[in-house]
Amino acid sequence: MITIDFEPKNENVCNLEYLKEMTGGKKHLIKDIIDMFLSQVPEELKSVNIAVENVDYASIKIYTHSMKSTVSIMGISSLTAILRQMEDFAKKTSDIDKIVELNLKLNSICKQAIEEIEIEKQFYL
């Protein structure tokens, strides 16, 4: 049973307070990390999507595991739970339907997160 509820667009999915705290608010560091995030997330998402399409549990496990580190930096807590569930299902090599459903949410939240971060980036140019 998938228990994660997510209503995108209602509120921000990212919380950059953690990023600001860890960098001491230094604009150039925040910008560098945001740039890295914006180039890495679409690649990771693509890898997860391909793995899900191919029902490749081993790859789903590896990529969702790696993505948890990426999204934690931007304070996207709603994604951590989704990625953990996807990873857990992949470890059990079962429930591909649930993984597909979670992957839709993953894509939707990532899209919103990228939009939010693109806007936030303007403050650090």
């Binding site: 860890m22 890295m36 995030f37 590896i62 580190s69």
Partner: protein
């Protein structure tokens, strides 16, 4: 100043580029007045290529390193290689889950610390580094005092030999 600052090289090994950059920034921000240089690596194998050249005092090592290269060695294996080459290296192992088996193995293999990647991870890593820097500073002070004592002892022995020599000479002149 009693403690002469030494440059500390730190390796970070993680296959996630965003995480590498964020952790590097966090450490550099937290230890602004400490002379550190951070070297980032995406695989343990790349880190091993630089180990003997740079000889880092500290290695922060992720446990799972196979998201880019599936056959990449895991953190425990890399730790084993590092400690075989440079037994003095302090290793902080990072994992995404609170895996008790990995934690036990890491300490058994000689890790200095084990940190779970969660909301407080960067604070915990910086606290762990702070403790390590204090230990390194204390060890450096102990070694410095040992050297000072050795030098003083050396001069004392020379003085005693000189006095004995003068006394012997005086004695032989009197005779």
């Amino acid at each position: 100043m009693l403690f002469k600052k030494k440059h500390i090289h730190i390796f970070i090994v993680d296959d996630n580029k965003t995480y590498l950059l964020a952790l590097k920034s966090s450490i550099e921000t937290a230890f602004l007045n400490t002379q550190i240089t951070i070297h980032s690596f995406e695989t343990g194998e790349a880190c091993m290529n630089k180990l003997n050249i740079i000889n880092p005092k500290i290695v922060i090592l992720d446990y799972l390193l196979n998201s880019k290269i599936s056959e990449a060695a895991n953190g425990l294996k890399i730790m084993e290689w590092i400690l075989k080459e440079c037994p003095e290296t302090n290793i902080i192992l990072l994992t995404n889950e609170d895996n008790i088996e990995v934690a036990i193995k890491s300490f058994k293999y000689g890790a200095y610390d084990y940190i779970v990647k969660n909301e407080s991870q960067f604070m915990k890593i910086n606290n762990s580094l702070m403790k390590l820097f204090n230990i390194m500073r204390a060890n450096s002070e102990v070694n410095r005092f040992k050297n000072v004592n050795r030098t003083l002892l050396y001069f004392l022995v020379i003085q005693i030999i000189a006095i004995i020599a003068v006394l012997s000479l005086t004695n032989s002149c009197i005779k």
